[in-house]
Symmetry: C2
Subunit: 608 residues, 2 copies
């Protein structure tokens, strides 16, 4: 227990669970690390889809990014309306639950859980890639470093991170600073030295192979950069008053930052003709930074800030997944343990499940960000779609002033989000998206099954208060293995609770001679209780005992409460347990599966 | 249960456990597969020790083998005397137990257990090497095939193999037949075509590097071929009358067979100048066979019979290890479970432990026989030494007619065996023998610890029959999580066993409002029992309950028997269990660690 307290801190009382209100300058970095950090791999994802078709094809990253950024602004406007509609916060699950049947809400929930898991895996591997781009001799430890990163973030979250707010604002600003420095350096180069010779000009005609299909694939890959834009609207209540206004302003700032950073990086990649490395190392961002800064301290600063902000994004998922799981668990669609808060008020089951799943993904995909990206975005945009649809339904029901334009905006958001889902599914089906298409329905089905079970249990446990208590006389069966202190304690307990004529001692011998011998010893001791013995030719103690209990149960036919008193002994040291056959344990397990049998365990504690 | 019976057969009654008496022709192959099969790797082990010093060095395999065979005859004569002394059988453990203190017996036991484990690992890998020498495309599956082989033999032994006696005689005769065919083919070649040009002649002077140290290493490696010669004397009672005479004759036959086969293979290896392959594949025996038979059916027959007899040797260890463990367990020096016979009368714990340990060895040593051999032989010869010393002591105590020559023979056996132990330890210390030098003392220490524990438990459990039963009144504590059917059942049980004023219901709420609410509901129900409630700010249910129990226990100060009645519910499907927090389970575990608390489990079975 001392070790636990040392590692995780002292337990916190429930009263300590209060939301801390934040000013805009602090909420922005904390809530948008996920969205902003995606620019670290967004441009690279687009370039990977184009790289096979020659240098000229890479120019198309510019128009593709532009389309993605148009989509971004549609989403920003839509989500500003979500803030209006749900000032108390509410992700896709809450919106869908209020406006649709549970099916819709659970689809949103499954999509989000999958997405949070992928956020952890993608961000952790991309964060490690930022580090190994700068320090290539760490490349062989990609997987280990990514897993270690996840474990550290999980550990911090299990300790409970509430107090660390200001600390967490720092990496995002550090990252923003570095990216803007990069963009300014690029601007300076162009202004002073002109367009670099490496720059890819707009091709005169579309290069061979660059079909609409290819461009759509590049688009759907790049959409991974938009994940996380919903975070601010989900967390509206953390803003200081005027809450809604502050949240909306912050969301707009996020949109502008994301636009400038993403577009800027794509333009720089084009100016320096950067091609993504087949191994994903060094990253596109690292190549740009080394072109502009050389291997100066500014380069290392860029790489380290990238890694930091990506691990902060991981942390965002570690806040989101357990909280969503807890809410859904309270609604009865996930195992109840997800809603239990640990000593430090953290939702440990959710944290552990998320760590486990994302670590499996990291190991399974060998910590290669680019192979994880095809799975990504589908879940996010599916939840976007459902949230926007929910808003459309809400406006049409409530009909507030100007509801028609509100319906139009959210409807547009829904259509565009759903288009991304469809494009991603089609374009990347064989690259891994099919797994998502299977996992989400399975999760939804599981959640319904869980709910069904909980409802059924509640019905079975329901008790009629007016029904009077029904007391029976107890009949006690005491399996006795020998005549010793443990057995004496058990017999004493039986005699304390029942009259002697309602107690039967039962002995199984696996040796013919022993049977007679035991009867003799019992007679000598004579505790005043009837003894039944059985010679087991098949050497099993459990089976004859169970058969005997069955017989007794049939004979008394519900008129007596049947209780089995198990003498057990508890060893002093754990390894001693291996030295005793666990007969009592197996008997207990078998008895628990039989109806209407009460089990009494009379422990005897060995002193050494 | 049906699957279990299908795989392992129906349970057998204890009466079926009888020794079957065997004629010599059947006992020989069954008891000596271990010894005879060692010729498959014995010569190779010697050659490996010499191969680094040039072709001429390999000639020394001839004198080294001759020395080993002299040792063999000393052992055969010594063990014929063991048969005389222990006509009821008795391995090194039994002999040492009768003639020395337990320490000696336990050293012999530990040595034998280690040796049996190595026999399985060495024989299985050598058996697979015989197969992969003939079918090289199986080489990548060396480890998997060896493990599979061990699992199959383990499975057969768990089914109980008694009835398969005659079947088991076949592979040994098949192997003997093939080796003799090989020797005759070699003889024919020499007689008809003269000494082959590949033959290594006796070198005129000792080649550089071939020191006494090297020759001793070759000798100690070759001694692995002598493992298993003790098997016949251990199993004397299985022979038909006249038991002693038959056993002694069979042992002599074994000695002659082993001599001819081992020496013959070494001579053939020399005639064909065979060098061991660095990877251990193809084996020396396979090289000889392919030289003489070409890749004809006789070659494949030789390889297959070698593999079969080696797996039969594995089977010998699977008979020996569990039986020895069972005997030692009955003496209290090993966990009792080793002496429990399963449904099929097989000693399953021993079989499983042996499989596990040998599989770990196979995996750890990558299924390379030659790297396992340095660990081998030390254990065997240590047990030989102890057995022979025991015989010396026995003759000196009993002084039968001719006891002086008997003492001389067994004394010589002891000295020679002990020399092999020392030579092997010194020569192969760094090659792995050090592990054996560590493991055997650790095993002995563990066995003494186990015995100490059993003696201590027996003393603690001892009961004074004349001491009258001491009955107390029970005080029942019922933790109640809500008002439902499970709780009702528990309260009913409590009321059936104790008067209402001796029952306390205890409720922990993790929510301040809930506390009051629960008290109200309880009042409405009014089961006539006192309710205590507690608001847990740290959300733990277990800790407040345990503290409450401690308080009660302190207050009643041993005047009442304290019983905790745990309402539990049993889910219908196993996966449902994951949907409920296992609070009752953790409470029970904590209670079992507290003294003087009786635990009652009142199960409620969910129907769906």
């Amino acid at each position: 227990m001392k070790i636990k307290h040392f590692l995780f801190g002292r337990p916190l009382s429930t009263e300590a669970l209060q939301e801390e209100r934040m000013p805009k300058w602090m909420a922005l970095p904390i809530l948008s690390s996920d969205a902003l950090s995606s620019v670290a791999y967004g441009t690279e994802s687009i370039l990977i889809a184009l790289v096979a078709y020659g240098t000229a094809a890479r120019w198309f990253s510019l128009p593709v990014s532009l389309v993605i950024l148009i989509l971004l602004f549609t989403l920003i406007i839509s989500y500003r309306q979500v803030i209006n509609g749900y000032p108390k916060g509410g992700g896709a699950y809450a919106v869908a639950k209020e406006n649709f049947n549970p099916l819709m809400a659970l689809i949103a929930c499954a999509a989000l859980l999958v997405d949070y898991t992928l956020t952890v895996a993608v961000s952790a591997t991309a964060g490690v890639a930022a580090i190994t781009s700068a320090f290539p001799n760490l490349i062989p430890w990609n997987v280990e470093l990514s897993v270690l990163g996840v474990l550290i973030v999980a550990f911090i979250n299990m300790r409970g991170v509430r107090e660390a707010g200001t600390v967490f604002a720092f990496p995002t600003y550090f990252f923003i600073f570095n990216i803007f420095a990069l963009l300014l350096a690029g601007l300076y180069q162009v202004v002073v030295h002109g367009i670099p010779s490496t720059s890819i000009p707009m091709p005169a005609h579309i290069p061979q192979g660059v079909t609409l299909y290819v461009l759509l694939r590049a688009f759907s890959s790049g959409c991974s950069a938009l994940t996380g834009v919903e975070a601010i609207s989900n967390a509206t209540p953390v803003f200081r008053d005027p809450t809604v206004k502050n949240a909306k302003t912050t969301l707009l700032y996020l949109g502008i930052l994301l636009f400038v950073m993403f577009m800027g990086i794509t333009i720089l990649a084009n100016l320096y003709g950067v091609a993504p490395s087949p191994t994903g190392n060094p990253t596109v961002l690292s190549q740009i930074a080394s072109n502009l800064f050389g291997y100066s301290w500014m380069y290392y600063s860029t790489q380290i800030s990238t890694a930091l902000v990506l691990f902060l994004a991981t942390n965002t998922a570690f806040a989101g997944f357990p909280l969503l799981a807890a809410i859904v668990a309270q609604d009865g669609y996930m195992p109840r343990q997800f809603s239990t808060r640990g000593d430090r008020l953290s939702l440990n089951v959710g944290i552990m499940v998320l760590s486990l799943m994302s670590i499996l993904l990291i190991i399974g995909f060998d910590a290669v960000t680019d192979s994880l990206v095809p799975l990504y975005a589908i879940g996010v945009f599916l939840s976007f779609t459902i949230a926007q649809l929910g808003m459309v339904k809400k406006w049409r029901m409530e009909k507030p002033s100007g509801w028609k334009s509100k319906v139009f905006i959210n409807g547009l958001g829904a259509i565009m989000s759903f288009s991304v889902v469809i494009i991603s599914l089609v374009e990347k089906f064989s690259a891994g998206a099919w797994t998502i298409a299977i996992i989400i329905p399975i999760l939804v089905w599981m959640m319904f099954s869980i709910k069904r079970h909980y409802v059924s249990v509640a019905n079975q446990l329901k008790m009629d208060i007016d029904h009077p208590l029904h007391l029976k006389s107890t009949l006690m069966i005491v399996p006795v293995g020998g005549i010793n202190q443990v057995v004496r304690n058990s017999i004493e307990y039986a005699l304390e609770s029942s009259p002697p004529e309602q107690i039967i001692a039962f002995h199984v011998s696996i040796d013919k001679d022993e049977d007679e011998k035991f009867r003799g010893k019992w007679q000598t001791w004579n505790p005043g209780i009837r003894l039944e013995t059985f010679y087991s030719r098949y050497r099993s103690i459990k089976n004859p005992l169970l058969r005997f209990i069955d017989q007794v149960q049939r004979r008394v036919d519900g008129k007596y409460e049947i209780t089995v008193v198990l003498p057990i002994f508890i060893t002093k040291k754990t390894w001693h347990r291996m030295l005793h056959n666990q007969a009592a344990y197996f008997i207990e397990r078998a008895l628990l599966n039989r109806e209407d049998i009460i089990i009494v365990k009379v422990p005897f504690h060995l002193k050494s």
